[in-house]
C-alpha cells in the first residue's frame, strides 16, 4: 500500500476532493476525462486547472459519463495513467465501459463520490449506497478492486494506492468516497513525490513478434505496451484468445476468465487493506469505512472509557472483501457492528463471510444524515 515513507512535504488546507487531485498527480496521472456532477465536481475542476500546466497532462470534459469512461480507456491504451470521477447517476452510466475495462484489462481509476440514491436521489447529501454496484454493477463475471477513504489525508494516499493497484494488476480500480469525506476541509501533508512507491504497468521485454497481449504469466498480468510502440495487437470486449482475437473455444474462454479472476485473487493479501484500531483484545468490533469510520473511531474511544472492550476495523479495501482481517478477530471478539449510510450493503458481505463466529449488528441510515458517534456508542454498550 502507498504509505508515506517519511514525514516530509508541504502542508495544505484541502478538501477531500482536492486531496484526490494531489494524490492523482503524485501517482503520475496525466489524463482526466469527466462530466460534472455533485458532489464530485471539485475533483474535475482541480484537474482542469492543474493538468494543462504539467509536461504532458490532458484534461477533457466529455459529453457524458459514458464518453468520459471511453476517453479514459483510450488514454489508458495509449499508455497514460488515466482517471475520471463521478457520483451515483454518472457511475450507473459508466457500467458498460467498466466491464469493457475489466475485459481488456485496462489500468484506470474511477472515483465515485457517493450521494443519496436511487436515481437523482440526494445530490448534496452523503450516502454509501453504491458499494455493491461498485462490485457488481457491470454485467458478466468479473473481478475488480474497490477502495475507500475516510479522511482527507487518506483521500490522497488511497488515490495513489488506486493507481498503483490499477497499474500492477492491469485493472480498473474504483475509489468510493462519500460526500462528507470529499467536502471536508482539513490540514494535510502533501508528501514529496519520492516518498511514495509509484508503480507502472509492466512493459514487454520480448520482441513484437513474440508478444501476446493476453498471455498467461506467473502473476497472471501480461505486459501492456502503449499503442504505437511497435506491438500491434487487437483489443476487443469479445471473449478473446491470448493474441486478443475473438474466440468461442471453451478452453480459451475458461482460461481468459480464470486468469482475470486469479490475477487479483492470488494477491489478495497485498490488496486487502484495513486499519485495526484497538482490536487486539476487543470483544466487540465496529467494521466501518468512509466518513462513518471516523464516527466509529470516536465511539470506540468513548466505549473504552466506559470499560467496553471495543475496537474498530476500518476498511480501506472493500473488494476483494478483507475477510482474513475478520477471521483474526474471532478468538476474542463475539460481536461485529456494521454502521453504514445505506440499507445494509457491506453488512451483507460481513454476514457472507461470517461462519457463525460473530453476531452481527447493523446500523443503517438512508436519510442523508451522518451516523453519529453517539448512535454507534449506544450499540456498543448494548450487551
Amino acid at each position: 500500500m502507498a504509505k508515506p515513507k517519511k514525514k516530509s512535504g508541504r502542508e495544505i488546507f484541502a478538501l477531500g476532493a482536492e486531496a484526490v487531485v494531489e494524490g492523482a498527480l503524485l501517482a503520475g496521472c496525466s489524463f482526466y476525462a469527466g462530466y460534472p456532477i455533485t458532489p464530485s465536481s471539485e475533483i474535475m475542476e482541480g484537474m482542469a486547472s492543474r493538468l494543462p500546466g504539467t509536461s504532458d497532462g490532458v484534461f477533457v470534459q466529455m459529453e457524458d459519463e459514458i464518453a468520459s469512461m471511453g476517453a479514459v480507456i483510450g488514454a489508458s491504451l495509449a499508455g497514460r495513467k488515466a482517471m475520471t470521477a463521478t457520483s451515483g447517476p454518472g457511475f450507473s452510466l459508466m457500467q458498460e465501459f467498466i466491464g469493457y475495462g475489466c475485459m481488456i484489462e485496462a489500468p484506470l481509476v474511477i472515483v465515485n463520490v457517493m450521494r443519496g440514491g436511487p436515481s437523482t436521489g440526494l445530490p448534496t447529501s452523503p450516502a454509501q449506497a453504491d458499494v455493491q454496484q461498485a462490485r457488481w454493477g457491470t454485467h458478466g463475471d468479473h473481478s475488480v478492486i474497490v477502495l475507500s477513504a475516510s479522511d482527507v489525508q487518506e483521500c490522497l494516499a488511497m488515490t495513489v494506492t488506486a493507481f498503483n493497484f490499477a497499474e500492477r494488476y492491469r485493472t480498473p480500480v474504483i475509489l468510493l468516497l462519500d460526500e462528507i469525506t470529499a467536502h471536508t476541509r482539513e490540514k494535510i501533508t502533501v508528501p514529496t513525490p519520492d516518498s511514495f512507491e509509484i508503480l507502472y504497468r509492466l512493459q514487454p521485454s520480448m520482441p513484437p513478434e513474440w508478444y501476446k497481449p493476453f498471455e498467461e504469466t506467473v502473476r497472471g498480468v501480461p505486459p501492456m505496451p502503449p499503442l504505437g510502440a511497435g506491438y500491434r495487437y487487437h483489443v476487443t470486449g469479445l471473449t478473446h484468445d491470448p493474441l486478443g482475437f475473438p474466440t468461442q473455444r471453451p478452453d480459451e474462454i475458461v482460461a481468459l476468465l480464470e486468469r482475470q479472476f486469479r490475477k487479483i485473487d492470488q494477491f489478495f493479501f497485498d490488496i486487502q487493506l484495513a486499519d485495526e484500531i484497538e482490536t487486539a483484545d476487543a470483544e466487540i468490533v465496529v467494521v466501518a469505512y468512509g466518513s462513518v469510520a471516523r464516527s466509529a473511531q470516536l465511539a470506540v474511544a468513548q466505549a473504552r472509557e466506559k470499560g467496553v472492550k471495543a475496537g474498530l476495523l476500518k476498511l480501506k479495501t472493500l473488494f476483494p472483501f478483507p475477510r482474513t482481517k475478520l477471521e483474526r478477530l474471532a478468538p476474542h471478539c463475539k460481536i461485529l457492528v456494521v454502521p453504514e449510510m445505506n440499507m445494509g450493503q457491506m453488512s451483507r458481505e460481513v454476514k457472507r463471510v461470517n461462519t457463525g463466529q460473530f453476531a452481527v449488528r447493523t446500523i443503517n441510515r438512508v436519510d442523508g444524515q451522518i451516523i453519529t458517534p453517539a448512535e454507534i456508542l449506544k450499540v456498543l454498550r448494548r450487551r
Partner: protein, 279 residues
C-alpha cells in the same frame, strides 16, 4: 494482381483465422480495400495507425487489419478514439462505424466529436440498416422501408449524415459510394490527411439484411441502383429539386481548416508551462 496480393499480405493479419464475416456483395469489404490502398498510398507505417471500430458488421473490420486495433463497445468508438488522440496526437486514428453505431446509439458522441473538432479520420459505412443483428431499422433507414422492426414500413424520418456532421462543426465532410471505388480511394486519402474531425460517409449496400426486403432482387440490382443514383456533388447542385429527388450526391461537402482540439490543447499546454517557468 501481384501488387494486390502484396498489399493483402502486408496489411491483413496472417495470424487471424480467415474467412471474414462479410457476405458476398457487402459494401464493407470494398471500403476495407479502399482503406488499405489509402494507407499504403500515404506511406503510413502500420505502427502509427490505430483503428478504433464500433460494434456491427462494419466494426468487425478491425480484427482483420494489421494495425493497432481496438474493437470498442456499441456506439462508443469515438470516445475511445478521442482519448487515444489526445494522449498521443502523433498517432493516425481511424474510426470505423456503422450507421446504427455512429448515429443511433452513438449519435451524441458523433455530434460532440465533430463539434470538438478532434483530429480523427471517421468512416461511417452506411447501409441504412442494422446488419449484424438481423436487419432492424436504423436512424438512416429511409421513410417507408421494410425492416424486421418496421414490418409495415418505416414511419420515422432518417438522418442525413453529411448535413448532421457539417452542422455539428466537422472540419471535413465527404461522401463516397461502394460502387465507385476509385473515387472512394481519393476521398478516403483526403479524409485521412485532413486536420481536425474528418468524416467520410460510405454508401455501402447490404443486400442480405436490407436489399432483399426492399425490392432489390439481387446484389447486382443494388449496385446498379447505386451506380444510377450516385451523382457528383457539382452536378447535383445544378439539378432542380424534382430531378435531385432520390439521387445520392457524392463528393466533398465541407472543407474547413480550423485548428483541431489536440492542436489547441498543445498551444494551451505550451502557454501554461511557459507561465509556470516565469513564476
Amino acid at each position: 494482381m501481384a501488387e494486390r496480393t502484396q498489399l493483402i499480405h502486408h496489411y491483413l493479419r496472417h495470424n487471424k483465422k480467415f474467412p471474414h464475416v462479410y457476405c458476398a456483395g457487402c459494401g464493407h469489404g470494398i471500403a476495407l480495400g479502399s482503406l488499405i490502398r489509402s494507407v499504403h498510398a500515404l506511406g503510413w507505417s502500420k505502427d502509427e495507425v490505430v483503428m478504433v471500430a464500433g460494434i456491427g458488421c462494419s466494426g468487425r473490420m478491425a480484427v482483420y487489419v494489421d494495425f493497432n486495433t481496438v474493437h470498442a463497445v456499441h456506439g462508443r468508438a469515438l470516445t475511445i478514439a478521442t482519448g487515444i488522440k489526445l494522449s498521443n496526437p502523433n498517432l493516425k486514428v481511424i474510426v470505423v462505424m456503422g450507421d446504427g453505431d455512429a448515429l443511433s446509439i452513438g449519435g451524441n458522441h458523433f455530434i460532440h466529436a465533430a463539434r470538438r473538432n478532434i483530429g480523427l479520420s471517421v468512416l461511417v459505412l452506411n447501409n441504412n440498416i442494422y446488419g449484424m443483428t438481423g436487419g432492424q431499422c436504423s436512424s438512416t433507414t429511409p421513410l417507408g422501408a421494410t425492416t424486421t422492426t418496421t414490418p409495415f414500413g418505416q414511419m420515422e424520418k432518417s438522418f442525413d449524415l453529411v448535413e448532421l456532421a457539417a452542422a455539428a462543426g466537422a472540419n471535413y465532410v465527404a461522401r463516397a459510394s461502394a460502387f465507385h471505388a476509385q473515387g472512394m480511394d481519393k476521398l478516403m486519402q483526403a479524409t485521412f490527411t485532413h486536420r481536425g474531425f474528418s468524416l467520410l460517409e460510405v454508401v455501402s449496400p447490404c443486400h442480405t439484411q436490407y436489399g432483399r426486403k426492399n425490392k432489390f432482387k439481387t446484389v447486382v440490382d443494388m449496385y446498379r441502383w447505386l451506380k444510377e443514383s450516385a451523382t457528383p456533388l457539382e452536378q447535383y447542385r445544378k439539378l432542380s429539386a424534382e430531378k435531385a429527388k432520390g439521387r445520392i450526391p457524392l463528393g466533398v461537402f465541407v472543407d474547413r481548416d480550423e485548428p483541431s482540439l489536440e492542436e489547441r490543447y498543445a498551444d494551451l499546454r505550451a502557454d501554461q508551462t511557459a507561465q509556470a517557468g516565469r513564476r
